[in-house]
């Protein structure tokens, strides 16, 4: 089949991973750095509050990447997730623990409960941040497969020096990305500690990333992947330099370029394979032998072209609504934003004198508005 659609969908899935690395990347970073950058209870709340309203929407990029792979490249979906079974199970466990930790942290009653949530947030962010790098490095390196494109190597085939380096690069970069995000999105001690974390992480991340990129050329790669890796290296260094100058917005923008370029680099290195067979080239799973039928790809293309722009618009709007920096102290983090004439919170307040019988047993709440 000479259709361009399989290639197009390879690109769509790269874009979905790019969205995931860009957005959930800093969520992972915030989770990994939480114990240090957060510091005390208030600081931790500030750091988590910066991602609180958006993290779940960010994670959906991963789910859609998975679903799109299933729909457009069933064999890729089947081979990749069965082949990377143990790392994926650990990633899923991490994401579960992390999601529950962040959502229940404000609901548990005790300090020890919150401490458990912080541990869950840390380990649940660390595992995926590390293992996604390992998994992508393994894909670049190739996996042992049989003629039916089933991955044959066991778990330990996945633990190679190159894979481990890939994992450290993704963990280090997501942490850096999260630190830069916090410098942009918070105020006060958390912002300062995030600057310090970004500075500490900068050199190791740049060195590890450079080593990883050079090593990956030895394995495979073409002009696009070389260009992407050059872009990543330059953007990462620019992000580090801008962070030192206190240009938080531009530093985050550069870091975002790295986050987007990373999956694009991986995909460009793989092309036209989706999983290269390390043991026998012709057994590789490629964009063409893994793809769905033309009809399915057409259906999915129409759906993606209609709904992706809508999703991007409302998700961007959500970021716009929560654009104010989060701070500690008594000032409402949102206080400086122009509010609606009557916010939802205010609209439901009783304008007529309250029915005293209904609230007779009410315990006075500090700061309650009487009017």
């Amino acid at each position: 089949m000479t259709s361009v659609l399989p290639g197009f969908w390879f690109g769509v899935i790269a874009v979905l991973w790019a969205g995931f690395f860009l957005l959930e990347g800093f969520d992972f970073g915030v989770g990994v750095l939480l114990p240090w950058v957060g510091g005390d209870e208030t600081g931790r709340k500030v750091a988590l509050r910066a991602i609180g309203p958006v993290w779940d929407g960010n994670e959906v990029w991963l789910l859609v990447a998975g679903g799109a792979t299933f729909a457009a490249f069933p064999s890729w979906y089947a081979s990749m997730f069965a082949g990377l079974y143990i790392p994926l199970a650990l990633i899923l466990a991490g994401l579960i623990v992390r999601g529950i930790s962040i959502e229940y942290r404000s609901k548990v009653a005790t300090a020890s409960g919150r401490a458990w949530c912080d541990r869950g947030m840390f380990i649940g962010s660390l595992l995926p941040a590390l293992l996604f790098g390992v998994a992508f490095a393994d894909l670049i390196r190739g996996l042992d497969m049989n003629a039916e494109h089933q991955v044959t190597g066991g778990f330990f085939a996945l633990v190679s020096p190159f894979g481990v380096l890939g994992g450290l690069v993704s963990l280090g970069f997501f942490s850096f990305h999260g630190a830069v995000f916090l410098t942009l999105r918070t105020e006060g001690p958390v912002r300062e500690r995030a600057h310090r974390a970004a500075r500490l992480l900068a050199v190791p991340v740049v060195v590890a990333a450079a080593g990883f990129l050079v090593w990956s050329f030895e394995l495979r790669g073409g002009a696009v992947s070389v260009a992407m890796s050059a872009l990543m290296a330059v953007a990462l260094i620019i992000s580090v330099l801008l962070d030192r100058r206190g240009r938080e917005g531009w530093s985050f923008a550069s870091s975002a370029v790295v986050a987007v370029a990373f999956p694009v680099f991986v995909f460009a290195s793989l092309w036209p394979d989706v999983i290269p067979a390390r043991n026998h080239g012709p057994w590789s799973l490629t964009v063409h032998n893994a793809s769905s039928s033309h009809y399915t790809l057409v259906v999915m293309t129409v759906v993606a072209l209609i709904f992706t722009p809508i999703v991007v618009v409302y998700q961007a709007w959500a970021y716009w609504v929560f654009r104010a920096r989060v701070s500690e102290g008594s000032v409402n983090p949102m206080a400086r934003l122009p509010r609606p004439a009557v916010s939802a919170g205010e609209a439901y307040q009783v304008t007529s004198p309250p029915d005293l019988a209904a609230i007779a047993k009410d315990v006075p709440v500090p700061g309650e508005r009487g009017d």
Partner: protein, 507 residues
Amino acid sequence: MRAELPQPLTGATWVTPEWLVASVSGDVMSPDTLARWQFASTTIYHFIIVPVSIGLALLVATMQTLAYRKRGSDGGAVWDRVARFWGKLMLISFAIGVVTGIVQEFQFGMNWSAYSRFVGDIFGAPLAMEGLIAFFLESTFLGLWIFGRDLLSARAHLACIWLAAIGSAISAYFILAANSWMQHPVGYRIDPATGLPQMTNIWRVLFQSTQLVTFSHTLFAAMLTGGAMLLSVSVWHLRKEGAQVDVAHRQVAKMALGVVVIAALGVSFVGHVQGQVMTKQQPMKMAAAEALWNTKSEAGFSLFAYADVSKGHNKIDLSIPDGLSILATDHPGGTVQGINQVQAAERAAYGPGDYVPNVGLAYWCFRLMIGFGVLAGLIGAVLIVQWRRGRLLSSDRLLRVAAWTVVLPLLANTAGWLFTETARQPWLVYGLLKTSAGVSSNVSNTMVAFSLFGFVALYGILGVIAARLFIRTARQGIDRSIDIDPGDATSGDGGLGVSDGVLSLAP
């Protein structure tokens, strides 16, 4: 008119303690055994939570709509307190549904890669659409709703909860469309080159009869579950606090009774239609549900059967004359196919093999699903009558029973899900692919066991935490304060937090 419970068909079709021991010791361990346990565990758990979330999301959106319409008045303020309290409970449930849903997206590829390869051309499409159309909507607007109370206008904030609730319902639609295709594959052809099914008509895949009845049935079930949850918690407060109870709990109880009765009627009616669709499309499933071994006209609906398995006949059997025929065909004299006849027909069509599912499991799950669902509706109806007669609060025993109502739809949902999935066996995709052929052949039993026990342990711990949190929050009851202080930033927490100056008022 006798429905006979079957003998165990093979060693692996009955879940008994002996069988479990044999499984673990490896005597009957076929490659798909553990993978089936893994999928069943994670999916049943997910499906305990999801109807609660979907039902509560739609009900919270309704509550907030009532608050919006009467905003500024006392009545509106009460509904606002109601919506915030139930929003808190909804979020506790939603969190579990969201994180266990992540596993669902990937475990087809992990444990069922042969299946994924086989059906991906069709099955993957609704899954991808679910993510793109439903998950984004649900998660983004839920975040806006939780944290946006002081940043959005009342109208925009109301729109957020509706979009999140609708997103969760759309998500159910797509995943059930995918499941319906496994029950009744349509809109495809077999590619002569590869032997794999290829999608030819997405509209048939998304809007086939199986899907329309399944989705309606599930949505009504979710409303019944959500309504029963409202009922249980409100009645618990009514019983405990008596005449002193917050008027808000009373309002919720009233709303819940309406929802429970209407949803119970809806789920029964749609279930009846679904039964007829199923009888046509999956005759074996209906036969197994009734343990009807041989084709019968004027077949009775068996209420209770107790079999002497060693002698192969029922010691006790109670049945409603002609009940099954009416259920399946709308006519008292209608003919319902029996297991032996369907087995012969499927053998002729698909070759030698055993096409009979676990009849005992199907028979009892079918009964428990119907029984628990009907019972929940009856409790609702009795409470309405007692309320009208002004005797609700005086009957402590009735309130005590009613406080447990929510357990019924939860059990009914699980039984229904078990029934529809196990009575499809041995098929994974009816008529196209057997379950044993769908498993990942390159994933070892050790690896599946690792993830099975890992997820069961993790889900178990999370279940305990979530249940305790839910019960504690539910018992605290609706905040009596009508105001919140938006000026306190330290209450702004990182989570999808309730102590965010948004939902919580605790000093």
